[in-house]
């Protein structure tokens, strides 16, 4: 069985170089290529590679975020990060004993890294993303055979259910495992808590209504059903948006 490798880098020469290096290695097969994090996740579910060579700095979704989403898969592939120069990331990789390669990559180092490539563990991923000010650009929801990536700007609201959290977005609804509290911490600047169980994207906020019983609710663009607002949150919300 050959090791299937997916090359992820936004720069064409960098992908070409990796491809030609991999072609010279025994027992390795190139599964495919991707130019950013989003594409990497798509290709991963389509091609089921064993290892991802993942560039850290990419437009759209970067390597660190892609690695976080990958771990939501049932059978996540192993990850080796590649970077030309990124002091912060390299320190984090060293500290977490995560496999990484420095560009221009040497063939021997590539072979050695592939031989011992391992999956990232949850604590490793948490430590890697801690300290990066950047928040995720997408929400990954596990699907029948892979991941559905929901761009953050498409999310209308998060609703906490008993065990899961529902993500309502422009193209439908999905279930994710993140807690509402963690989501609020990460996306607090563009989302607002309206109720114990609901976090809304403020860009879709249309208006705040008050019904006959004196209860408040918010109407969001593109959502038919209004969401309940707790009394305490209502005044905060009206203050924040001067409504």
């Amino acid at each position: 069985m050959k090791l299937k490798v997916l090359i992820v880098d936004d720069e064409a020469p960098a992908r070409e170089r990796l491809a030609s290096l991999l072609a010279e290695l025994e027992g390795v097969e190139i599964a495919g290529e991707a130019v950013n994090g989003v594409q990497a996740l798509q290709r991963t579910t389509e091609l089921t590679p064993d290892v991802l060579l993942l560039d850290v700095r990419m437009p759209g979704m970067d390597g660190l975020e892609a690695a976080r989403h990958l771990n939501a898969l049932d059978e996540p592939p192993a990850v080796i990060f590649t970077t030309a120069y990124d002091e912060y990331a390299i320190n984090a990789f060293e500290a977490q004993a995560v496999g990484y390669l420095l560009k221009p990559i040497r063939k021997e180092k590539l072979a050695a890294a592939l031989a011992q490539a391992g999956r990232l563990t949850r604590p490793q991923l948490q430590k890697l993303s801690a300290g990066t000010p950047e928040r995720r650009t997408h929400i990954a929801a596990k699907h029948r055979e892979g991941l559905r990536l929901i761009p953050l700007e498409d999310v209308q609201y998060f609703l906490a259910e008993q065990k899961y959290t529902t993500v309502k977005h422009l193209k439908g609804e999905d279930l994710i495992e993140d807690s509402l509290r963690a989501l609020e911490e990460e996306f607090g600047s563009s989302f607002a808590r309206v109720h114990r169980n609901a976090l809304i994207n403020v860009r879709y906020l249309e208006r705040i209504d008050r019904n006959a019983e004196g209860q408040y609710c918010v109407r969001l663009q593109g959502c038919e059903a209004p969401l309940q607002v707790s009394r305490r949150m209502a005044s905060e919300l009206r203050e924040r948006f001067r409504m």
Binding site: E11, A14, R17, S20, P59, A84, Y85, K103, P104, I105
Partner: protein
């Protein structure tokens, strides 16, 4: 040489290492010179010059080598002390040592060689004066030596700091990110397109030559634009169609004198912050105008919705601002800021013509 300060103090004690054979040799030499000096300064008619030199040398060698041994042995704990306390400790140690050696000398002269008058003449006859003289001389000499070590240590530290500052300044000019990515591109092209790789190596060499040049202060706008285009060629290989640069600089006088390396860092910022983070890339626009004796150059690049200004950006801008200020005073101007979906940097400075005619 290591410059990291010892744990717990930001200013490490300055004592040199006494545990080396070089230090021992230096001490023997210094001791002999001091002995020579002391003997010459003294009237030694009673026992003769050479005998006096020999006994002084012997006495001083004892102190010198024992002192070096002591400082070598106690070096580690001493180096952890702050400067003032460390100096006081060394002074106390050496003074104590001199006291001990002086007393031993005196006792030795009394007991062992008591029978021979010619030998007794070599030893001090009275302990009090002998002891106090030695202690005071030793105190002064040790204090002077410590002062010397301190000054040379500070001087060396200063030089090291200056060198580090220069390296940092250099790094601010050449982004490591750019260097390593270019190397990677060249490594890739060497296999697929050797002739393009060759061109890229030449471009990179030119760019570094421009960056490392000491005569960066005055070059012509023509040369400056060539550096910027060289840089563009390298980045183009890496970013392909994602990078587009729109040059609108025809109205600029090509022989105008400009501070070197002001356009290239702006392009570098524009690409790093404006083009690379966009999956589809974008266009950097460079516009140049000449009006009323003033040259205006504007560099604009698209910015993402959630991007903040980063440190590298401010460094390069501060550097350019400083150099324009040095060259033109109040008349040089750098403005920068985000305007809607764009980040715009404007440079304005007086048009000074180069005396060297351009070959066209």
């Amino acid at each position: 040489m290591k410059t990291e300060p010892a744990a717990g103090s930001d200013k490490p004690f300055y004592l040199p290492d006494f545990c080396t054979s070089r230090a021992a040799l230096a001490i023997v030499l210094i001791v002999e010179l001091t002995a020579l000096m002391l003997t010459l300064a003294r009237d030694s008619a009673l026992i003769g010059f050479w005998t006096d030199l020999a006994r002084t040398s012997l006495f001083l060698l004892w102190i010198g080598l024992a002192g070096a041994g002591l400082l070598c042995w106690l070096g580690e704990p001493l180096k952890r002390l702050p400067v003032a306390q460390g100096s006081a400790a060394v002074l106390a140690l050496i003074t104590g040592l001199i006291t001990v050696v002086s007393l031993v000398t005196f006792v030795l002269g009394r007991s062992t060689f008591g029978g021979y008058a010619s030998i007794v003449a070599l030893f001090p006859s009275e302990p009090g004066t002998f002891l106090w003289r030695n202690v005071i001389i030793g105190f002064v000499v040790t204090a002077l030596a410590l002062r010397y070590f301190y000054v040379t240590h500070e001087w060396r530290r200063n030089i090291e700091m200056q060198a580090t500052a220069r390296v940092h300044a250099l790094q601010a000019r050449i982004r490591p990110h750019f260097l390593f990515n270019s190397m990677n591109t060249i490594a890739s092209l060497t296999r697929t397109h050797p002739e393009v790789a060759e061109q890229a190596v030449q471009d990179l060499a030119d760019l570094f030559r421009a960056n490392l040049s000491d005569k960066r202060d005055t070059i012509t706008l023509e040369e400056e634009c060539e550096v910027a285009r060289t840089y563009q060629r390298i980045e183009q290989l890496r970013l392909g169609s994602r990078l587009r640069i729109d040059w609108k600089i025809d109205p600029l006088p090509r022989n105008a004198l400009v501070p070197g390396l002001m356009l290239q860092p702006l392009l570098e910022n524009a690409i790093y912050h404006g083009i690379e983070p966009q999956p589809e890339g974008g266009t950097v626009t460079v516009t140049g105008e000449l009006a009323g004796g003033l040259i205006t150059i504007v560099v604009r690049n698209p910015v993402g919705a959630q991007q903040n200004e980063r440190e590298g950006n401010r460094l390069a801008l501060a550097n350019i601002r400083e150099r324009l200020g040095l060259m033109y005073g109040e008349r040089g101007l750098v403005k920068s800021g985000r305007f809607g979906p764009e980040y715009i940097v404007t440079l304005r400075f007086p048009h000074i013509e180069s005396r060297v005619k351009l070959a066209t």
